[in-house]
């Protein structure tokens, strides 16, 4: 009997420690909340007409957006800046004013095409991607430091560029997972990083 009582009393502190740690229900709540945040924004923005930017391929954004647009026609026509004729004029003007640099990257606005940084460095460029698109970014790196382990680093990041109003088109949401490879147990490996960039 004594051994049963002792083993029971030893188990109680272990359970309470687990409940206090952030590795339990709180972290799962954050993960689920983050998922629904991204999914909610993505679904909400899919209802907006995609205007103002050239589309992928030969089809313009305006044509593609209105062909799939679920909004009532009256609402669309009420806003002159979103009318198909205005859209065509804007798209033509943008194409005419774009530099040769942007011709190879028709899906981004000229400022983003010039100023975006997509290389292995720590600079933040402040530029969102093409509105209404996702970007998958993978990073592999290695560092050597005197007197400590040389880590092999991996980072996966999913970026979402909302579409719709000017505010949303200048926004970028990120979901990143950095990992340190090569060691069995690195504290913090698998943490999730949520980011919000606003231009």
């Amino acid at each position: 009997m004594e051994s049963d009582v002792n083993s029971e009393s030893e188990r109680i502190p272990a359970v309470s420690i687990k409940d206090k740690s952030m590795f339990g229900s709180e972290s799962r709540f954050f993960t689920v909340a983050a998922f629904f945040l991204f999914a909610g924004v993505a679904v909400a923005q899919s209802q907006y007409p995609r205007d103002g930017y050239p589309a992928k391929g030969n089809q313009t954004r305006a044509v593609r957006g209105y062909a799939n647009d679920a909004q009532p026609m009256q609402l669309v026509q009420a806003d002159d800046s979103r009318s198909p004729s205005r859209q065509s004029a804007q798209t033509t003007d943008e194409k005419a004013s774009s530099t040769s640099e942007t011709k190879s990257r028709l899906t981004e606005d000229p400022v983003t095409a010039r100023q975006s940084v997509d290389s292995y460095c720590s600079l933040e460029d402040g530029q969102p991607g093409d509105p209404g698109t996702f970007e998958l970014q993978l990073e592999f790196g290695w560092l050597t430091t005197s007197g400590s382990h040389d880590p092999a680093l991996w980072r996966g990041e999913l970026q979402y560029n909302p579409d719709g109003t000017d505010f949303l088109r200048n926004m970028q949401l990120t979901l990143g997972v950095p990992l340190e490879m090569g060691l069995g147990g690195v504290q913090g490996n698998g943490d999730i990083e949520l980011g919000w960039q606003q231009r």
Binding site: S21, M22, F23, S27, R28, F30, T31, A34, K56, E101, K103, S104, R105, L106, T107, V111, Q115, V117, D118, S119, Y120, C121, S122, L123, E124, D125, G126, Q127, G129, D130, T133, F134, E135, L136, Q137, L138, E139, F140, G141, W142, L143, T144, T145, S146, G147, G185, V186, Q187, G188, N189, G190, D191, I192, E193, L194, G195, W196, Q197, Q198, R199
Partner: protein, 137 residues
């Protein structure tokens, strides 16, 4: 008129034996100068939890760099950063980064780079190398 942007990031402790929340706020300024763009970043971080021993709870730093567009689909990027260490007892970190950006296709960009430490402090890497691959869809 330069480009002004902010970037807010939160680390959630979902990983292995992780704890606490970290938050970072970065201010970004970008301005086209000559054949490229000049960048300036400044950031502050509040670090919590015990993932790093003797963690510095308030961290800060800045980065400045230049992107030199050599061709429509190719650019060189150089930047310098200075930031506080992650641990309280360590000195600040100074390093130089050199990288390139190649738009292989309309939706695919590849960017290899290297890092060179500019001091011998405990947390400053002597050298580093890596690659970033970006695909949009």
């Amino acid at each position: 008129m330069p480009t002004l942007a902010t970037y807010a990031e939160v680390r959630l402790p979902t990983g292995y034996e992780s704890s606490g929340l970290d938050g970072t706020l970065t201010g970004i300024v970008a301005k086209d100068i000559g054949p490229g763009t000049m960048y300036l970043n400044g950031f502050v971080t509040t670090a919590n939890g015990n993932n790093v021993e003797d963690v510095r709870h308030f961290q800060w730093g800045f980065r400045t760099g230049y992107k030199w567009r050599l061709r429509d689909d190719f650019a060189l990027i150089g930047d310098y950063f200075h930031q506080s260490s992650e641990e309280d007892s360590h000195a600040n970190v100074n390093a130089l980064e050199l990288s390139s950006e190649w738009h292989v296709a309309e939706h695919l960009t590849i960017g290899p780079g290297i890092l060179i430490g500019l001091d011998d402090n405990e947390e400053t890497p002597n050298f580093g190398a890596g690659i970033r691959i970006m695909y949009s869809f």
